[in-house]
């Protein structure tokens, strides 16, 4: 179970592959579910050119550890990886990577989703967006669960 807070850009697919190679539970693992959140070029109808991501050193790391531990209690997991950027983020860069490895796919899928939703709603991070007209703090993350698909959610 690994949690990382990074101040510089990372390649989420390379990180996933490297992590699995290093921590591989080869043979026992049947399922890996992962999510990558990227910086988008627009939000609420406005063009976004850059982003600054603030965090609470100490509490943020502790909270991400708690999310990973909670997922491990609720589902049968072999491993969990959470990587989150902070600081200045460029267009298209990965902001967050969450992955869950399990023997079975339901555990991996559900744990991955749970961790992302908890991270979005409770982990201490705050985004400040750079717009063409200046900058603004993002006020809230919208819920990520839709009832029927084709409903909107934030990233």
């Amino acid at each position: 179970m690994t949690v990382e807070i990074l101040k510089s850009a990372f390649d989420p697919h390379k990180r996933l592959g490297d992590y699995q190679a290093a921590h591989g539970s080869e043979g026992r693992c049947g399922a890996e579910a992962s999510f990558v959140g990227y910086m988008r070029d627009n939000n609420e109808g406005e063009r976004v050119t850059g982003m600054y991501l603030e965090y609470y050193p100490g509490m943020t790391d502790r909270h991400l550890q708690a999310i990973a531990a909670e997922a491990g209690k609720r589902w049968d997991l072999l491993d969990v990886l959470i990587v989150h950027r902070v600081g200045d983020i460029q267009l298209g860069e990965a902001i967050v990577l969450v992955a869950a490895w399990a023997a079975h796919r339901a555990d991996a899928f559900e744990a991955c989703r749970f961790m992302m939703e908890d991270l979005k709603s409770r982990a201490p991070f705050w985004k400040k967006e750079q717009l063409e007209q200046g900058e603004r703090w993002v006020e809230k993350n919208t819920p990520g669960f839709s009832q029927t698909g084709k409903q909107k959610s934030d990233n």
Partner: protein, 76 residues
């Protein structure tokens, strides 16, 4: 005898400072601290943490605690 207070993100900008030192008084709660730093402003959607764990307005404070106030989170 003091409590260390931190502010983050838009709340830090609004209050014009990132931290504050408050005198500790026996029996004080999170909302008491808030009122000292923000005057009559209600907490509203402001979130609080005591020693880096989420806390409620009525959570009790101990001498030496770190109390943080911040707006709704927007990570991920």
């Amino acid at each position: 005898m003091s409590v260390h207070v931190k502010f983050f993100a838009s709340l830090r900008d609004e209050l014009g400072r990132g931290e504050a030192q408050i005198e500790y008084v026996s029996g004080m709660t999170v909302v008491d601290i808030w009122q000292q730093v923000a005057g009559n402003e209600p907490m509203g959607h402001v979130l609080a943490a005591v020693n880096m764990e989420y806390a409620r307005p009525e959570t009790g404070i101990n001498d030496g605690d770190e109390v943080a106030f911040f707006p709704p989170v927007t990570g991920g």
